[in-house]
């Protein structure tokens, strides 16, 4: 099954179960969780069902396209269901069946793996899902996001698309994955891996990055002062990515690293706070549109 066919099937599957299938967010993200379609929408009482692919950039994981398992940018298939349905495990397993897996032929397990993202003020409990020993999905019940308790609780399914595809295609090297007949992962992304890793690890100007971090931070703060939550959050995401670049560049000491992280955390918490106030002021519009 090709990479794009996996995506198409997951889209179909989750669309049929009432999810809005939205497009990837257009700011650099380290994880699907950071998209406003997750980070903001899981806050507050409004129901939410969404599915999307999110390209995720992790500069420190870049290996110049030379490592068969690690890449600067990978793809997550992200599903958020809020409130978490009672049959969510069964739903998830059905989605694997939709990918052509006969689960009786395999060993599928839910193995404890709790999730924490201090910069998002977020944590949750759940599992990594094993398929014949391979971790293919992070399955998390969000307990807190942006420092706020999640009420109701949202469940997040984050499929590692490269892992799923490698398993289905029986491929050892991520670059050998078939995206669509005649086109491999290598054709599409290898050059990007080389360039982005080179930039992140060698070429990026730490001075400029530091300036950018501070500019985005100031701008996020300014936007929040005017309750422009989404533009502010974009700046927070850019801060976070800029931080990741500095981290990959290996130019931060321990103290500086901790200090910058704390600044991102403050901003993301404030964003969550303003977002919640705004939704409340709007009378939680989605409470009217869905029935719980």
């Amino acid at each position: 099954m090709t990479f794009q066919e996996i995506i198409a099937r997951l889209h179909r599957f989750w669309a049929d179960r009432g999810c809005a299938v939205v497009q990837p967010y257009d700011v650099e993200l380290g994880a699907g969780t950071m998209s406003p379609a997750t980070f903001l929408r899981v806050l507050g009482p409004e129901p939410w069902k969404v599915a999307y692919v999110q390209p995720c950039r992790r500069p420190a994981d870049g290996r110049f396209g030379e490592n068969p398992n690690r890449v600067y940018q990978h793809h997550q298939y992200q599903v958020i269901l809020k409130p978490s349905p009672d049959d969510i495990q069964d739903l998830y397993l059905e989605s694997l069946t939709a990918l052509g897996l006969d689960l009786r032929e395999h060993d599928v397990r839910f193995v404890e793996d709790n999730w924490e993202a201090p910069t998002l003020g977020a944590w949750g409990l759940g599992w990594e899902v094993w398929l014949d020993g391979m971790e293919i999905t992070q399955f998390t019940y969000f307990q807190q996001v942006g420092g706020y308790d999640c009420r109701p609780v949202a469940v997040e399914l984050a499929y590692g698309l490269e892992r799923v595809a490698a398993y289905l295609q029986e491929v050892e090297n991520v670059f050998d994955l078939v995206w669509t007949p005649g086109l491999t992962y290598r054709d599409l992304f290898h050059r990007a891996e080389v360039e982005h890793t080179t930039y992140a690890m060698e070429a990026a100007d730490p001075g400029v990055l530091t300036q950018l971090f501070e500019l985005y931070e100031t701008e996020a703060s300014r936007a929040l002062d005017r309750e422009l939550v989404l533009p502010a959050y974009d700046c927070v995401l850019r801060c976070s990515h800029t931080f990741n670049l500095l981290d990959a560049r290996g130019v931060m000491g321990v103290a500086r690293r901790a200090a910058l992280l704390a600044r991102v955390q403050r901003l993301s918490r404030r964003t969550a706070q303003v977002y919640l106030q705004q939704r409340q002021a709007l009378g939680y519009p989605l409470l009217r549109q869905y029935s719980l």
């Binding site: 395999h106 060993d107 404890e112």
Partner: protein, 704 residues
């Protein structure tokens, strides 16, 4: 009557997957809570069992009474003489009592001369009471990190998805966290999902067999072990039973089936620990070795399910393992590019913890503290050099890729890389050893350099946490401080015996603060003594022996341990009774002695006191030197010989003489004897054998 017979109770709480490491403890809690709640509900029962899998907690109670015991409460009122007048009419007292209790006078009962209100609450049927008892039992379970789900506010370890509750064949109907109990269970997720109806509690085992779920953890564990062993045998090998892995695997499956896979023999070049760790860490696989103990390129995984698709499962696991081994080999090769000491620089930018400084700072302190220990232990030049070099390199492997990926390989990789970097093999070994003991089952290190570095490392870490106010308390133990403390007391009681704790802590705190911090030292000492007490208890030493010994001082711990062992042995000798009797007679009055006085032989006049003084001085020096040599039992035997002289003294002499000089002199003599008897252990703390500070009866009689 049908309700008078006894019945069997079954409760199954179906959940989403419970973390493997928590299941055993949860089942213990369930058993304890069930016993408590059944007793409180006056429901008598026979055997009570718990069982469970990742997806279910099961309680089975046999011989449960069909009804609660009747409750009888009695309230005592006024005496009959006050309650009725001469003519037998109730007085105001009787009327008031009845009114307050809300009963009529003629409902009062007379027992043993008093009025009573006796209320009998007839027991309700068990099936009714259980609708309250069962949910209360389950919601009483406690978790370190409970979770909420859906729209509910209830917290549990993982979401509850079904509840099965039967009393024989009768449904016990109640709501638990929004789920109504029913007579259905679910089977293995893929082999027999169900739901399956359970007709009666007695039918449950048969239903679960058909549902392909091995509910009993002990039975499942035997099955996992047998199947893994058989699989390894088929590969002409034997299983490497990695500690803790069998229990973990057991709690990850409902229906275990062993799967064998292989990997490229080229990977056998990697250190054994690396291979074992990779297999365990990611996939909970068991390594396989040959008869000579050499690893074979094989593994045994345990799949949750039957034999269908076994090849696919084996292929998948092998595929994942191959990728992990390729990673490990990459890390190993990268790490080997630089000598170990070149990595020290990188520790500069590695934080030990928020606000706790860098690992490089810590290494400097560990080296300094190791130097202190080398001096205290009187290490020779060669041993000292090994210890200091090992101290300097002991954390270098934290900067390696392998340890970054597999933190449990810290120490192991340091040793491996030190050897490859051409360090002295003794240094490499000491780096390995400084992490020992890792668990309570591990032995402490054999070499003194390894032990010294390990002690310095742990003490420094504990001081850092205590100074930062991060010390463990209750269920909170960030950074595994109890384990660190356990290591400290094991080392001080074993290979580093003789080292004084107070000097060690002062030095360790100085290295952090350039000044002593008494408060940190005291709190840390208390924390370590808690671990020391449990170490002594694990040895089978009785709590009162431990307290008696610690009351006479804990430092050095190795001496305290020796005193405790000696006292435990001495306790079963005939001389023990003599010593104790002697002690009981002297300690009470000894407490009244003036602290600045020592006995003056010139002021002794009565024969019995002169005899006691002579008897005591004749053995005093010998007892003291036995004490100094750590020959405690002999010391106590010698002191027990004082008994006749002490008895004669108390029978013949009035200690509390009217003349203060005479009195103080006698008290001073008793005080000196008491001090020596109790020097190695405060014998008054032995249970049921006299208490300190209380005058025993014989002394009081004498004073009269």
């Amino acid at each position: 009557m049908a309700e008078s017979r006894i019945r069997d109770l079954l409760l199954e709480v179906g959940t989403e997957e419970i973390p493997a490491r928590l299941l055993d403890e949860l089942l213990e809690q369930l058993a304890a809570q069930a016993a408590v709640h059944l007793a409180a509900a006056r429901l008598d029962h026979g055997s009570l069992r718990v069982m469970g899998t990742p997806r279910r907690l099961v309680l089975l109670v046999e011989g449960l009474a069909a009804r609660q015991r009747d409750a009888v409460t009695e309230v005592k009122g006024p005496p009959v003489g006050v309650a009725f007048d001469r003519d037998g009419n109730p007085t105001a007292a009787a009327r008031g009592f009845a009114r307050n209790q809300g009963v009529r006078i003629d409902e009062l009962e007379v027992r043993a001369g008093y009025l009573y209100v006796v209320r009998r609450e007839p027991g309700r049927p068990a099936v009714q009471v259980l609708t309250e008892v069962l949910p209360a039992t389950v919601t009483a379970l406690e978790f370190a990190r409970p979770m909420r789900w859906g729209v509910g506010e209830t917290r549990f370890i993982r979401p509850i998805r079904w509840v099965l509750a039967l009393l024989d064949d009768e449904l016990v109907r109640f709501e638990l966290v929004g789920v109504w109990s029913d007579r259905y269970t679910r089977g293995h997720r893929f082999l027999a999902p169900g739901p399956h109806e359970v007709e009666s509690a007695q039918q449950y085992p048969a239903v679960m067999r058909r549902a392909c779920v091995i509910v009993d953890p002990a039975e499942r564990r035997r099955m996992v072990r047998r199947r893994v062993e058989a699989a390894a045998r088929r590969e002409q090998g034997r299983v490497v039973w990695v500690p803790g892995l069998l229990d973990e695997v057991n709690n990850l499956v409902e229906h275990p089936t062993a799967v064998v896979g292989g990997y490229d023999p080229d990977y056998l070049d990697l250190p054994r620990e690396v291979l074992v760790t990779v297999m365990r860490h990611h996939q909970r696989c068991f390594p396989v070795e040959d008869a000579a103990g050499k690893l074979l390129p094989r593994f045994v995984a345990v799949r949750c399910g039957g034999r269908r698709g076994l090849d696919t499962v084996a292929r998948g696991n092998a595929w994942v393992l191959r990728a992990r081994l390729a990673d490990a080999r990459f890390f190993y090769q990268e790490d080997c590019r630089e000598p170990l000491d070149a990595l020290l620089e990188r520790l500069q930018s590695m934080s030990f913890g928020e606000g706790l400084g860098t690992v490089r700072d810590r290494v400097h302190r560990i080296v300094a503290l190791t130097a202190h220990l080398a001096r205290e232990l009187g290490m020779d030049e060669r041993e000292r050099k090994v210890a200091l070099r090992a101290a300097e390199l002991c954390k270098a492997d934290l900067a390696t890729r392998m340890v970054y990926e597999y933190p449990e390989l810290a120490g192991v990789m340091g040793c491996e890389y030190a050897r490859r970097s051409g360090e002295d093999p003794a240094v490499a070994r000491a780096i390995y050893e400084h992490c020992l003991p890792r668990t309570a089952e591990d032995d402490p290190p054999a070499s003194r350099p390894g032990a010294a570095v390990g002690l310095a490392d742990r003490v420094d870490a504990l001081v850092a946490f205590f100074r930062a106010g991060l010390e463990a308390s209750g269920s909170q133990d960030p950074f595994g401080q109890r384990r660190l403390a356990h290591g400290v007391v094991r080392l001080l009681a074993g290979p580093l015996g003789g080292i004084r704790l107070d000097g060690l802590l002062s030095r360790a705190i100085e290295l952090h603060a350039e000044a002593t911090d008494r408060q940190v030292a005291d709190r840390l000492t208390d924390f370590l003594l808690v671990r020391f007490r449990s170490l002594l208890a694990d040895e089978g030493l009785r709590p009162d022996v431990v307290e008696a010994v610690l009351a006479a001082g804990h430092d050095p711990l190795s001496r305290a341990l020796a005193r405790a062992r000696a006292l435990e042995r001495f306790r079963s000798t005939p001389a023990f009774a003599d010593l104790l009797a002697t002690n009981i007679r002297v300690v009470g009055l000894a407490g009244r002695a003036r602290p600045d006085r020592s006995p003056d032989p010139g002021s002794l006049s009565e024969p019995a006191e002169l005899d006691l003084y002579r008897a005591f001085t004749a053995l005093r020096d010998r007892a003291r030197s036995l004490l100094a040599d750590g020959r405690y039992e002999e010391c106590w035997s010698v002191l027990a010989g004082l008994r006749p002289a002490v008895d004669a003294f108390f029978d013949g002499v009035l200690v509390m003489a009217p003349d203060p000089t005479v009195r103080d002199n006698r008290l001073a003599l008793l005080a000196e004897i008491a001090a020596l008897i109790n020097a190695a252990a405060d014998l008054g703390r032995l249970s049921g054998e006299g208490q300190p500070g209380k005058e025993p009866p014989s002394v009081q009689r004498n004073r009269r």
